[in-house]
């Protein structure tokens, strides 16, 4: 396999708060290879967005970031603002969740795409206009020339997200980070945006990090999946393997909570979606041991409350598949796995 374009190794992020450090990311590692799609999955607050913002130095000053993240072999963590600025947009492009608030309401589309073009090279006004129109056409916006003069509020949600994608593409990045990029959109628009990003990925050979809580999206597009809980990777593996044989109780819980449209079972059985009791832990007071153990349905080992389980290969898996649980081998096939 080729060298990874983005490699995150033992990333830690803590925010200084009045109550003490909020440890939001606690030793996250993953690799992204060119042209591949990595999905980072987890509940709100599991640290997925924070990790991606940490890579580009986009977190507020109250954040302490440790660990390593290399882009194209060069370290990102601890680099100067100016060095990071050169990576932003040009090396790693980002698409955010809510296209209404992520675009500046008082600037035109042309201006906002133009800023992304001008951030990394000198471009004439005419050059900006024609390149911006090209980008809009590329992301599937008809009548691009006219749309350049539009303000964000004059566009639909799907259009706005296409503009966001055009902005992210403007710097010709090698990696695209889509942070809940379809979450705020209608389901039909969601599908269009997914398709668009897949097409652009093929054309540009970009690596894509897809951050989402939506497992349905993950199943459709990802090559590799990282499941995050309380700032740690609790399970990772190739998408089919992970969905087919989820090893971690948390992953099984997530999959069990997912409705399956073509479920062959009778309607009554279908309604029995499992829910996970409890809430994710407070990052200021992370539980000792495995962060998931207070909610875990199978905890029985004394080590669960004292010792964080290491991310270890899942016994019996042929492909790369690792889970951080003392029960990784005891459960498959799981309820969630059954349902699929």
């Amino acid at each position: 396999m080729t060298a990874p374009v983005l490699a995150v190794d033992d990333l830690h992020v803590a925010f200084r708060t009045r109550r003490g450090p909020a440890r939001v990311v606690n030793g996250l590692s993953f690799e992204l290879h060119p042209g591949r799609t990595l999905a980072v999955v987890g509940e709100s607050g599991s640290g997925k967005s924070v990790s991606s913002l940490a890579l580009l130095g986009l977190l507020p000053g109250t954040a302490d970031v440790r660990g390593s993240a290399t882009f194209d072999g060069a370290e990102l963590i601890g680099r100067s603002e100016e060095e990071l600025r050169k990576v932003r947009g040009a090396g790693i492009g980002m698409v955010f969740q809510d296209p209404m608030t992520s675009l500046n309401p008082v600037l035109t589309v042309e201006r906002q795409i133009g800023e992304a073009l001008r951030a990394h090279e000198k471009v004439s006004d005419d050059g900006v206009r024609s390149r911006a129109a090209e980008l809009l056409t590329e992301v599937g916006i008809p009548d691009a020339k006219a749309r350049l003069r539009a303000y964000p509020h004059q566009l639909s949600g799907g259009m706005r997200q296409r503009v966001m994608i055009a902005i992210a593409l403007a710097g010709n990045p090698k990696v695209l980070v889509a942070d809940e990029a379809t979450t705020a959109l209608d389901v039909t628009v969601q599908a269009q945006i997914l398709e668009l990003i897949e097409r652009l990925q093929d054309e540009h050979g970009m690596g894509v990090v897809w951050i989402t809580h939506d497992l349905g999206v993950v199943a459709g597009i990802a090559d590799h999946v990282v499941v995050m809980y309380a700032g740690r990777c609790v399970e990772e593996g190739a998408v089919d393997e992970l969905f087919g044989r989820p090893a971690h109780p948390y992953t099984r819980g997530l999959l069990g909570a997912l409705p399956v449209v073509d479920d062959p079972r009778p309607a009554r059985a279908r309604e029995e979606l499992t829910t996970m009791p409890g809430l994710p832990p407070d990052p200021v007071e992370l539980p000792p041991g495995c962060a998931f153990h207070p909610r875990c349905p199978v905890r029985a080992d004394a080590r669960c409350a004292t010792e964080p389980p290491p991310l270890a290969p899942v016994p019996g898996s042929a492909v790369a598949h690792r889970a951080a649980s003392f029960y990784a081998d005891s459960a498959a096939p799981a309820d969630g796995g059954d349902a699929r």
């Binding site: 947009g89 309401p105 800023e115 509020h153 902005i167």
Partner: protein, 317 residues
């Protein structure tokens, strides 16, 4: 847009009519006899009576009002009891000085507020923020007359850099105009600057937390460009409203500052009119202040739509 402007103009006229009724009513309630005040206690009864009749003061009050309004719409606000000049010419004479002082003061206010408010928003709870908070508190607390006197003492007295008082028209001597303007503009601008500093701080803080600022940074824009085009540009929109109110307040005469610096502005004119019960001048001046407020508000609302494309006025369509 033009239909909206027209509708707003019509509303303004209605407000103005209400204001004029109020102004007129208050004048009626104020004790004292304007003619007696103009002529003095020793005036002979015939002259006294003649002036009363000429001013229409013996007519029924509603009739006096109608007469006044009918003349006012043609620009005739009557004649000053004291000097015999027309009210309009008295007011117009004062406009350049007032305009100079108000604009000078708002420039001073913005020169204080934008850098200081922005700096403190960028470093909340840091020394610069404390300094900004402390100095805006001080700016609000210091009385204008005291600040004016201190500035005169230091810059006109001890250092001798600037004149202590008076006004030179811009058209006669631009350098002299500026020299005379600096101290009064600072004196009048400091309290507005203090108010605006707090406003800029909160507006910039809010703007900084917006998602689109994060997008701008993620594009790889330079920090300075992000600050100018995504933080300040958006923070400016609400600033226009507050700045407009401050400007209107400065335009309607800063009496104390005008007094300290012997500045021949509208505030001084109005004050002198109160002192001498010069009703026509006072009525004219108060009405003009109302017009200024209405106009500034109208301009602010129209500017809003230019600054924020999301705002369209219904009747404009």
């Amino acid at each position: 847009m033009s239909r909206y402007a027209l509708r707003r103009l019509a509303q303004s006229v209605a407000v103005l009519l209400g204001v004029s009724v109020l102004v007129f009513a208050i004048m009626q309630l104020v004790p004292g006899d304007p003619v007696r005040a103009a002529l003095g206690q020793q005036a002979d009864p015939e002259t006294y009576q003649a002036l009363r009749e000429r001013a229409g003061l013996d007519d029924p009050v509603p009739q006096q009002f109608v007469t006044w309004i009918a003349h006012a719409v043609t620009g005739d606000f009557g004649v000053s009891f004291r000097s015999g000049e027309t009210v309009l010419s008295l007011i117009l004479e004062r406009v350049p000085a007032t305009l100079s002082l108000a604009l000078g003061a708002i420039v001073v206010a913005l020169l204080i507020a934008i850098p200081l408010g922005t700096a403190s928003a960028l470093r909340p709870r840091k020394p610069v923020d404390w300094f900004a908070s402390l100095s805006s508190q001080a700016g609000l607390s210091v009385p204008d007359f005291w600040l004016g006197i201190m500035l005169i003492l230091v810059f006109a007295g001890t250092l001798g850099w600037l004149p202590s008082s008076g006004y030179t028209p811009l058209t006669e001597d631009p350098a002299g105009w500026l020299e005379h303007l600096i101290l009064p503009a600072i004196t009048a601008g400091v309290s507005s600057g203090a108010i605006l500093t707090r406003f800029v701080r909160s507006s910039v803080l809010e703007s900084l937390g917006q998602d689109h600022v994060r997008t701008a940074r993620a594009k790889g824009m330079r920090a300075r460009d992000v600050l100018t085009w995504h933080v300040l540009r958006n923070a400016l929109v609400p600033l226009v409203t507050v700045g407009g109110v401050q400007l209107a307040y400065l335009l309607s005469g800063v009496v104390v500052v005008e007094f300290v610096f012997a500045w021949p502005g509208l505030g001084q004119l109005a004050f002198q009119a109160v002192e001498s019960r010069d009703y026509p001048v006072l009525q004219g001046a108060v009405l003009l202040f109302a017009v200024i407020f209405l106009l500034v508000n109208l301009v602010v609302d129209l500017a809003y739509a230019r600054l924020d494309p999301r705002i369209t006025y219904r009747s404009a369509r």
